[in-house]
Assembly symmetry: C2
Homo-oligomer: 430 residues x 2
Amino acid sequence: MQPTSVRPKVIIVGGGFAGIAAAKGLAGAPVDVLLIDRLNHSLFQPLLYQVATSALGPSHIAQPIRHILRRAKNVSVHWDEVTGIDRSARRIHTLSGQQLPFDFLVIATGATHSYFGRDDWAKHAPGLKSIEDAFVLRGRILGAFERAEMQPIGPERDAQLEFVIVGAGPTGVELAGALAELARHSLARDFRSVSSHCAKIKLVEAGPRILPNFNEKLAKAAHRSLEQLGVDILTGSRVTEIEAGRVRLGDREVASETVIWAAGVKASPAARWLDVEPDQVGRVPVDKHLRIAEDQRIFVIGDTAAHRPEGSERPLPGVAPVAKQMGSHVAKVIKATVLGRPDPAPFRYRQWGNLATIGRNKAIADFGRVRFSGFPAWAIWSLVHVALLSGTLSRASVVLSWVWSYLTWERGARIILSAAEPAQEKETNA
Amino acid sequence: MQPTSVRPKVIIVGGGFAGIAAAKGLAGAPVDVLLIDRLNHSLFQPLLYQVATSALGPSHIAQPIRHILRRAKNVSVHWDEVTGIDRSARRIHTLSGQQLPFDFLVIATGATHSYFGRDDWAKHAPGLKSIEDAFVLRGRILGAFERAEMQPIGPERDAQLEFVIVGAGPTGVELAGALAELARHSLARDFRSVSSHCAKIKLVEAGPRILPNFNEKLAKAAHRSLEQLGVDILTGSRVTEIEAGRVRLGDREVASETVIWAAGVKASPAARWLDVEPDQVGRVPVDKHLRIAEDQRIFVIGDTAAHRPEGSERPLPGVAPVAKQMGSHVAKVIKATVLGRPDPAPFRYRQWGNLATIGRNKAIADFGRVRFSGFPAWAIWSLVHVALLSGTLSRASVVLSWVWSYLTWERGARIILSAAEPAQEKETNA
């Protein structure tokens, strides 16, 4: 971003799947790209639940953004945070005090947890979006077993070993399966008073079935697999209150020291920055080229965007493949504009398949015409996720950890990170 | 720890090298052992500097204590914190509110940083004792480069790229070498405005030479190796003041945003708990069997103990091999007492060798009669440290990371963990 440059300036805000795909797509193009993120790393969110359940460490699934983009010499990376966007002056303002001009702006700031207006639940039921979130969950999960080990048999100990996961989308299902395997197999040998069947795991879903975005037959297979692992699935159950140590589901109350939120997300505050009207979950409506109606050179992509494909009633879901394809598309549109070429064909999401894993040898795969579950789906899930990871070392390390866990039933990353007092009840133990 | 048990109760406080060795030594003995630690994991401290400099992740060098001791069925582990010891009632008090009786007590609570009475320096110059410390240092080191990337050339940017390490013992030397390689090789390609020679690293030592505990010729070899890496070594320099952004060395002032403390340690508060007179760095004097003079069934081992071998003027240093051997010895003494056998021979430290690494292919090795430096020492250092790690998965993962770094000059764990604002000056960024 040299001030003397006459090349168009593209600012990308956010280094997740969408922002990275946009930056990669613009590598070598006659533009100066600046990617800004408030983290120094890009996260492979589909495997974050494995950090929370001690199967993987943070560096397995997180890579420095500037490292991912090191070969794109026209791309700079700033570790900074956007505080506002001045659309008319075409500048963004950042926490470090900079005002950065842009010709094209790409917003890819993702989503965060939504507690449906009950933000006070957040401290009792943390969600899973960042490495720090994963460490908090890991500390709560492992800490619950540690505290139970010291307690006499009784209701307090039972509440330590009662885990409630709210929301049965892919994250909730994968967490429930991983937690069940952790409790049943990986921890049992190491404890003296806590045994493998002490832990109770409840998966709570307001809707009529788990995995609503999957084919019904596959979701049933996943349901059976979870039950085999000992997970208690409560569909049609709406959480009405969460307090320290208890969850209320209508007229039923569950005493639980570890409640995990996997129920709702809302988009980042991009709509407010851009001064446009968001949809009901905070997403910014975008046109066929993922631009906002107010400005043809401002794009919103990934979980922050509400893009409704032609003929569809619902916007595309906030998943990694959508985000990646949106990033690539925006790069094509910007290149075409800069080079004076006609716009590419409108954005169209190509869905290759839909995968979710429940546990060892248990997964479901939906490739449209072909649907299957069990070991073949699990093998494909494993291969696909390793292949999608960024970096050879990460791939090799994840394979090593998974093979080890598969052979030994152990989890390699059972470290509780906390400077706080271990034995006391804590609201936060990150 | 069943209340009906008539077997003698041994409480070990601390799960570092010393405490783990004591617990392992008591595995299968006719005693009930309870090991208490305020962390759930045991740390391989000799490689902690590699976590701080992004070469390794936390789970490479930390293992759950209860996992290490899973096969010792007479050993229980509590994640709890000792708040006091009642010597006459033979009970310890813990943060979780428990009062635990003991027949034998082993204190192995280690050491912490000492700022020689200037605890206000701690927030400007963090030290390196825990995983959390390593994350703080990593965040400061990587964050300094990130901030420099955004700043114009000038004194503020220079201060970001000025690193000062206080203390040239093994930790300071290993940190300086790793930091130099990180700056010179691993980061350079990923930045646009920061280049490989921008960073300045100063190693400050009050004494006349680096590595005072090593043979002088070897220390000179290490000195040369560090200088080859571009480290500026200031011996005979005493730090007289540390403030935000600056360090004073007598009448010289260095503007540095990243100061790292590797200068002094003091023992944990065991002496206060036991109501005995500590030595000048807080260690508890112990006899030939590592017992306190006041009670033949209370032992203090590891960095917390001041054990002066017969004929020596100085107590044994606070290093891992001493701690391990002390732990094994105490287990032997307790077993002999319980079984009514005569005491073993008094504790005698057997030093096998002394190793320190400076960087790629650069290390020093002192085996008494044989001393050497360079690649052979580095190869031995690497093999020994892999062999000493706990757990097959950790060993394989560390080998994988090291081989990868050796071949590519890259560091696999460059994740800044921080919930705080990235671009602002921060006092703490853990």
